[in-house]
């Protein structure tokens, strides 16, 4: 029983950073902007979170620093692509490269230092309930943030007027502009939100997952988050499903490798990617629904003609 609980907890820990980064990017892409810099923003969040926590001794300050770092870093992308209308793909890629290099440089003195870890939730009387206590009331704070964030984004996008406006900009920025919607302002806010989420996801890595600084510790999670958004056809609950499928198969194959199952480890390591893609493609078979949810102006720079 305890083993099951432990496995479920590790799955949640593996899925949380993917979920947060992907939910942030989902909002960005729903506004019609493609930010390929998730990996870079994530790693900047990780180094910023670790550094602030290490220097102040407070993991909570680290958490705030991670969010701020991601947001500020995404602002660079926003200025380039939205105000200067640069190519979003190229700018996003360079943001990732810049983030990887910059974080390595900033983190040289942190390598090998013990970091601060965010404490798990501990509610007397509740957390000690067998089995569900630790699952529901004993996880790290970012886990709860990730679930709340997903619900909030779903509500925002599909139940609020502002969310509708954001989706309309993603569908056609020229039509939105013709209606008098401030396209660029919305996109700025969306990109910064995405950056803050990626920073938070990075903070999860260096403040919860492995409370230390290792260069390139995002290890491709930013790219997985990007893929999740597309394969989930820009719908929040599918992103959640995708992140957890990925987390589950990831943990599963680690255990399988530990048990020494006679399957090449490379094949096992590729399973999470394969399983996530297959499942998400299967649930996205409805072409009409996919068409409705794909932001039609994704990746196109917007320059209003005046």
């Amino acid at each position: 029983m305890d083993i099951t609980v432990n496995i479920l907890l590790t799955i949640a820990t593996a899925a949380t950073p993917l979920l947060i980064a992907a939910i942030g990017e989902l909002v960005v892409e729903r506004s019609g902007v493609l930010n390929l810099g998730v990996e870079g923003m994530m790693i900047m969040g990780a180094v910023g979170g670790f550094g602030a926590g290490y220097l102040t001794g407070s993991p909570w300050i680290g958490l705030l620093a991670a969010v701020a770092m991601g947001a500020v870093f995404s602002l660079l992308f926003a200025v380039m692509t939205l105000s200067l209308a640069t190519n979003q793909v190229a700018t996003g890629l360079s943001l990732t490269l810049l983030g990887l290099g910059l974080s390595g440089m900033m983190g040289t003195s942190f390598v090998g230092q013990p970091g601060e870890r965010l404490p798990n939730l501990d509610i007397p009387g509740l957390t000690s309930i067998p089995v569900i206590g630790r699952l529901l009331f004993g996880q790290d704070p970012i886990f709860y943030i990730s679930i709340a964030l997903t619900a909030a984004v779903m509500w925002f996008l599909f139940k609020t007027r502002t969310g509708l406006t954001l989706r309309s900009i993603g569908d056609s920025h020229t039509s939105a502009h013709a209606l008098g919607i401030k396209v660029i302002r919305y996109r700025y806010l969306a990109v910064i939100f995405g950056g803050a989420c990626a920073g938070l996801a990075g903070g999860h890595l260096s403040l919860v997952y492995t409370p230390q600084w290792v260069e390139n510790m995002a290890a491709g999670r930013g790219w997985i988050a990007l893929a999740l958004v597309v394969f989930a056809s820009w719908r929040p609950w599918r992103v959640l499903a995708g992140a957890y499928i990925f987390g589950a198969v990831w943990i599963g194959q680690l255990h399988a490798q530990a048990f020494g199952i006679p399957v090449p480890s490379q094949l096992l390591s590729s399973l999470p990617y394969l399983a996530t893609v297959v499942v998400l493609v299967l649930i996205s078979r409805n072409k009409r629904l996919t068409m409705m949810n794909t932001p039609a102006s994704l990746g196109q720079p917007f320059v209003p003609d005046r």
């Binding site: 509708l164 309309s168 939105a176 502009h177 209606l179 009409r288 068409m291 409705m292 039609a296 005046r306």
Partner: protein, 521 residues
Amino acid sequence: MSANHDGTTLLEVRGLTKIFGTLTACDHVDLNIAKGEIHALLGENGAGKSTLVKMLFGSLEPNSGEIFWNGQAVRIASPGAAKKLGIGMVFQHFSLFEALTAAENIALSLDDGSPISSIAAKARALSYSYGLPLDPESLVGDLSVGERQRIEIIRCLLQTPQLVILDEPTSVLTPQEADKLFETLERLRSEGKSILYISHRLEEVKRICDRATVLRHGKVVGHCNPRQETASSLARMMVGNEVKAVVRAPAEGIETAPALLDIRALTRKPATPFSIPLKNINLSVRAGEVIGIAGVAGNGQGEFFESVSGEVLQQDAASVRIRGKDAGGLTITGRRLMGAAFVPEERLGHGAAPRMKLSENLLLSRHATDGKAFVGPGGMVKSAAVYAAAQRIIEAMDVRKSAPDPEAAALSGGNLQKFIVGRELDRRPSVMVVNQPTWGVDAGAAAHIRQTLIELARSGSAVLVISQDLDELFEISDAIAVMHNGQLSKPLPIAEATFEKIGLLMGGAEPGHAEHTLETA
């Protein structure tokens, strides 16, 4: 029918000028619109009408000139500012979001923050009270052009504007729908609202407009009272010279001519939950004749065109026959190679790739049929030949443009249409299928397109025209069939066809039971 405007000016424009590069789209334009009048803005394609109204709606900034609203000098910096003043706009190229529902589209342009469900209810009520029925829950991507326009109009009216600008509003409506719209406009006028009405349909301008301002090449060339003018005097002001009337030479020996396009028991299941199924359609178009297909927007015309052109293949290869051979299983290119040519309804994205040059668009549609002329050894494109052919079409159709070989999206709608029709005509196809040949095209150019279609038929081709413009169908067709709810009526020879008969068929009445009902959408 007299205007009830009290003479006070709502909007005045002095010396408004807009320059794009070397082109002066609007050159010191003066315009004033009184309270409670319907003011027509007339002009050919590229005369500067759209540029002018975009400046009034704040989506373009004038280079110079002044705008006065209720006597106050104003700067309309954005569409939002225009809406705040009380200016509403119904766009020609609709500014709708395809992935959203009608209600959501409407909600986006209202700033009152009320819930979507109440907006949907309001929109539904308003749409019925103005006789423009609308289902707020439907997805815009599934709607026909006519239905989309209703959303635009309702959306605009919900903002209770003082001035409503309508850009070519009747180009996609049936006569009955247009009548309803005119009632709506007259009702708005009686409520004291002003309307700026952009159109090239002179009869309707004469019918509903109190005053008219005529633009030519960016300049105001005249003001007039359209009721005191004739259609041809208005056309003369607009074009600068006489518009030639379309001449339909009598078709001879059609009865014995071979059917070049034969549609037999064409049936198609709906592709999406919202599209119209085609039910057992039979039609023959013979060499030498023009057959017109009338119908209210969204009754299966789009699906029919897709099936005939080969955008969608048929299970039964014999359901579409071109020049006596089965073509139902062939793609568009396959059918083109059999001598057919197609002009779809949607110009940008369907009839032409917006970001490609005209010559490139020409090559895209004709690389297979004119391979020898345009493609050399090793698949190399003969750019000079393609360019020359594009220039030939531009010349033949009098396409107005700002560069020698511009991107398709840089042309105004009417000019692009001229190019697309010209591109197909240039091949001298033996079967020509055209969907909405002159939508948004001005009088002079429309007459030219219609005349060429008739001449193509008389030279021995079969021409099938799908149109929502009944005047046009009556002008060019030898017989008119009506599409309603996916079914096609028997073609009615033009001598027997009347507006009333066709209108009733469009409303779904059975032939012979014409007194039955008249029900649109």
